[in-house]
């Protein structure tokens, strides 16, 4: 069963690039890596998903090495509104019967003015 490990917290100044790494040593062949953002008293919000190599969208990039045992979420030029908890989720939500959707404990990112 893939489980994830992330740093508990990170601080960054506005305008900097932030990289959050998630370790998932037991990732399975069919597992995807998905990152979510969560603000207090709200449900998580999808940021980006990948399987291998690099994925980029309008808000973030996701880097996945060849062995897929870790992944790095990159947020370019963060702003105060990016202060939130970021979760790495590893699993395949379409695999019938399997208990394989794991959120980590999350990384609390604080953006400083």
């Amino acid at each position: 069963l893939a489980k994830t490990t992330q740093p508990i917290s990170m601080d960054s100044y506005e305008g900097q690039e932030v990289n959050i790494t998630c370790s998932h040593n037991n990732i399975a062949t069919n597992d995807y890596i998905t990152w979510y953002q969560q603000f207090p008293s709200q449900g998580p919000r999808f940021i980006i998903q990948g399987y291998k190599t690099k994925v980029t969208n309008e808000v973030a990039s996701l880097f996945i090495p060849a062995d897929r045992k870790s992944s790095t979420l990159s947020l370019p030029r963060v702003s105060l509104s990016d202060t939130a908890v970021y979760y790495c989720l590893v699993g395949d939500m379409w695999q019938t019967g399997a208990n394989n959707l794991f959120f980590g404990t999350g990384t609390r990112l604080t953006v400083i003015p």
Binding site: Q49, D92, M93, L101
Partner: protein
């Protein structure tokens, strides 16, 4: 277009009681997953419903059960409530694709068990 909605927003129950939480998925979505999020923790997967059947289940006891209706809405039932069941219960919807793992989460129902 409404996103995922959940009801009620907050709920207070006592130990041993039963509770039913409700979720309406985002328009066009046919799959609903439920998560439990304790304070300060990440969401823990409870189960997933598609075509009115439970497709996946996490490590939760049988006290946790669910249902999906023909209109894709879903209910989460918890029997014999324990103090440890106090948490934020999140519903997430998605469209079955077999590959895309993007889920849309609702705001959650805050359950307090006294």
């Amino acid at each position: 277009d409404a996103g995922v909605t959940q009801s009620p927003t907050h709920l207070i129950k006592t130990r041993g009681q039963q509770v039913t939480l409700r979720c309406s998925p985002k328009s066009g979505h046919d799959t609903v997953s439920w998560y439990q999020q304790a304070l300060g923790q990440g969401p823990q997967f409870i189960f997933q419903y598609y075509e009115e059947e439970e497709r996946q289940r996490g490590n939760f006891p049988d006290r946790f059960s669910g249902h999906q209706f023909p209109n894709y809405s879903s209910e989460l039932n918890v029997n014999a409530l324990l103090l440890g069941d106090s948490a934020l219960y999140l519903c997430a919807s998605s469209y079955y694709s077999g590959s895309d793992n993007e889920q849309f989460f609702g705001p959650g129902t805050r359950l307090t068990v006294l």
